[in-house]
């Protein structure tokens, strides 16, 4: 454990009073005539070049600053993920919270001149509602944001994630101060219990219950561990990434409060190998927190010591499972173990351990800050608070959303998400990643909470929400997830290791038109075997994608088997390509490009595909400039 490095004695905050004084000092610096340009540098926007935008804004600010004699103070900040990744790079100007999207380098000069200096709006960079054509100036006017309730994400996009001052100025670490000065450890656990917080990583286990068990477990030498699970492995989920990148201090604050409540001495943050920016921002945050005395010895004068180290994953989905994660932290392969003895009793290195997800930790400062009753007022009876979802797939507004538990799927998909892309028909939304299931249109008005989603045959999971349209083949969806799980299964226990491979083999046959009706029974038998016999949650839930698609889309499976036809026209070889004689202009492009010479026709006359020769390679479909080729 790295020793706390206090490089500047001035910086250490010894008490809540000192913290308050420091915060007031920071706020006093805020001048009324400050203009701020916030450029998002989350991974999504960075991939589109937002770093360069930030540099350009910095340059412009410098020039303007030196030329106007200091009457206008211009600040450029780089900020974390706003969530509307579809429309990145995102730039927000204050005063006024003017939001611009898809900003490119040539736009910088215009934005700076018109908005930052002139207070005017640049129309063509404003968000436009695709359904109404209305322009929105501020986030509050954009349905994507206005329907959300951002508690955990409230500071994402506002503060510079690499600046602890920014975090403190907006109230950061005040919950820690409140907890350490006015609450006892058991009292903190009571607050979390009254708030009704359930784990946000997928299990939905009552957080307070876990903490209490760990606190009461025997701890030789007084050692207890606290782990933050940042191994977000579900394909299509990036909530934790955005939190770790965009507001790492909120996670740290939650962990320190938790450590005090549980009596933990050492903390770990386990970050997926594929999130280098998250690791970097967390590292910076740790160093800053130590400098300020929020980590290390005698935190805020309470006589309680705690520090955190970061470990990166090695690339294994199974390490999102708590015992596998702990094995990884012990320098071993990520194999889970049976949990007849709970990890709160004997976890990492055989010691009492609490493991919680990133989002769970980020909720803690909010709960202590607003109080448990206000938190519990949000959500449903058994699912309190909010949940962050990554809304992806065939949806107009791809991005990160935070909503109160109990909101309907319809509101998320239609109001926030802007509906299905390209005007296609909604087919299903997949939640819970490879452990979850697909929910069809008839349940769009279901309330999103832990129990409801489970009742519908899926689960909350970590928050991935993948929207599918009429062109998605549900057999293919099941096959995709099983393929994923096959490569990620650790191989320790028989049902998961062998069973997933068996189920995948069956799905492959079905998707090639080689299935039998008995295959559906075989899949159900194997599904049951896996859910009853597997050692860990990966195996136990592995069959969910199959079970839920069978539940709601059995007809599609039967169509593949009986008629060797894929109704969504996705499974290669199980649908035909046919030229519409009315639409075909006889241009001959398809004929010339067909690699097996299956198309014939005279110039300017409708062409025909010889089905006996056609290999269904899709070339003609792609090449036809008139969309005259249909998949049937």
């Amino acid at each position: 454990m790295a020793a706390a490095t206090a490089t500047s004695v001035d910086k250490i905050i010894h008490s809540p009073k000192e913290l308050e004084a420091y915060r007031n000092k920071l706020k006093a610096k805020d001048k009324k005539n400050t203009r701020i340009v916030r450029v998002c540098i989350g991974t999504g926007c960075a991939a589109k070049g937002s770093h360069r935008l930030y540099e350009l804004f910095c340059e412009a600010a410098e020039q303007a600053g030196s030329s106007n004699g200091g009457t206008v103070v211009i600040q450029s900040k780089h900020v974390g993920c706003h969530g509307l990744c579809e429309l990145g790079p995102i730039v927000v100007i204050d005063p006024g919270q003017i939001l611009y999207h898809s900003v490119e380098e040539p736009d910088v000069a215009e934005i700076f001149r018109e908005t930052v200096l002139g207070g005017r709006v640049v129309e063509h960079l404003l968000y436009e509602d695709p359904r109404t054509g209305e322009k929105a100036k501020t986030p509050g006017e954009i349905p994507f944001y206005s329907v959300q309730k951002r508690i955990v994400l409230q500071h994402n996009g506002r503060i510079d994630p690499t600046s602890i001052d920014d975090y403190i100025a907006v109230g950061g670490y005040s919950s820690l101060a409140k907890a350490l000065s006015s609450l006892e450890p058991e009292g903190i656990i009571d607050q979390v219990e009254q708030a009704g917080l359930r784990g946000r990583g997928g299990g939905g286990f009552p957080t307070a219950s876990k903490w209490r068990s760990c606190r009461r477990a025997e701890a030789p030498e007084g050692i207890r561990y606290l782990i933050c699970n940042g191994d977000e492995g579900d394909p299509g989920a990036f909530m934790d990434r955005s939190l770790m990148e965009g507001n790492p201090h909120s996670v740290l604050e939650g962990m320190v409060i938790g450590a005090f409540a549980i009596g933990a001495t050492h903390g770990y943050i386990y970050v997926r190998n594929e999130y280098p920016l998250a690791v970097e921002h967390l590292k910076m945050a740790l160093e800053q927190a130590r400098k300020f005395g929020f980590l290390g010895q005698d935190i805020l004068g309470r006589g309680f010591s705690f520090d955190i180290r970061i470990n990166r994953g090695g690339g294994a989905f199974v390490c999102g499972e708590s015992t596998a994660l702990m094995a990884s932290l012990e320098g071993r392969s990520g194999e889970p173990r049976t949990k007849y003895i709970h990890t709160v009793e004997s976890g990492l290195n055989g010691r009492p351990t609490v493991l919680n997800n990133v989002e769970t930790w980020a909720n803690i400062p909010a709960i202590i800050g607003m109080g448990s009753s206000e938190f519990a007022a949000i959500g449903t009876e058994r699912s309190k608070g909010t949940k962050v979802f990554s809304l992806v797939g065939k949806i107009t507004n791809t991005g990160l959303v935070e909503v109160p538990m109990g909101i309907t799927l319809r509101r998320i998909i239609e109001e926030i998400g802007g509906g299905v892309q390209g005007g296609k028909a909604f087919k299903a939304v997949q939640t819970g990643g490879p452990s979850g299931g697909c929910i069809p249109a008839q349940h769009l008005d279901a309330a999103v909470d832990f129990d409801e989603l489970t009742r519908l045959g899926s689960m909350m999971g970590s928050g991935g929400m993948i929207v599918m349209d009429e062109d998605t083949c549900m057999v293919n969806v099941a096959k995709y997830f099983l393929g994923f799980l096959k490569s990620e299964s650790c191989g320790k226990c028989t049902p998961c290791r062998e069973g997933i491979a068996q189920m995948l083999a069956i799905l492959e046959r079905i998707s090639k038109g080689e299935g039998e009706l008995e295959d559906l029974d075989r899949l159900e038998t194997l599904a049951e075997l896996l859910s009853e016999g597997s050692l860990c949650a990966l195996g136990k839930t592995a069959a969910n994608p199959i079970l839920s698609t069978l539940k709601y889309f059995r007809g599609e499976y039967e169509e593949h088997i009986r008629n060797k036809h894929c109704p969504a026209r996705e499974c290669k070889g199980l649908f035909l390509y046919r030229i519409d004689p009315e639409a075909c202009t006889g241009c001959g492009i398809c004929r010339k490009n067909c690699p097996v010479k299956a198309i014939s026709g005279e110039r300017k006359a409708p062409h025909v595909i010889d089905q006996a020769v056609c290999t269904k390679c899709n070339t003609c479909f792609e090449k036809c400039p008139f969309g005259a080729i249909n998949k049937v």
């Binding site: 028989t494 062998e498 083999a505 016999g533």
Partner: protein
Amino acid sequence: MPVVNIEGKTVTVARESTILEAARKAHVWIPTLCYHPTLPSLGSCRICLVEILGQDGAPGPLVTACNYPVRRDITVSVSSERAVRVRNGVMQLLLARSPESGELQELAHRMGVGGTPYPKVTESQRNCILCGLCIVVCEEVIGASAIGFAGRGVERAVASPFRQASETCIACGACAAVCPVGTIQVRIHADTGEAEISPFKSRSKLLICEECGVRMVSVPVAQAMSDRVKIDWEEFRRLARLCPECRRKQAVKALSLGAGEQSVTPLEKIKIKES
């Protein structure tokens, strides 16, 4: 001390005993594969799954008998429909994986499983059920750690590092001894006087008897044994001149006085003939 009610029989066991231990005490049979009495239980093969019943025999969770710790009074059903169905399903999956193992087929037969409806889905690690017993015995008991798991999922294998013949293997055959499906074999090569552990390809020369030339044990094992065994030959010869009764008295005397360090006779001084 908790009471375990299993298949209508009742036994009292020490706290933290496993259900399997309770079952054996009650003479109730539960099939096992990856379990070995001298090694830590892995709970990986899942063939020992049993059901813990709730109040009034209500259905409850399935747990692996080999490592479930008994901490309070419980009722266990080995023959419940669910437990039988899942255990049989596991066996069917294993039979698909290891079709040639006689031991596995015997166990299947005893469980009442006739065959398997499942095809083979992998060519990797033929006939191995990946129980891990060979790995555990090599690491924990022998201390050689010559083999380990390589890879994940259904393509996982048991192998020596870099798939080369292990440098630490002493060809003791412990892995073959614990292998429940007979996949690991010790092969004696007459021409080279070597023992080979198949399929790991490691070989060691065999020690042969000075007198009659019969092959005894591998040289590394002999070396390891003699490193651990310390014999004082003078003392040995002196004791040999006593009758058993007096020898016993001497031993008691030595024990009660707390015998001091015995001198060691190094291996080089003992003549061994290697072929």
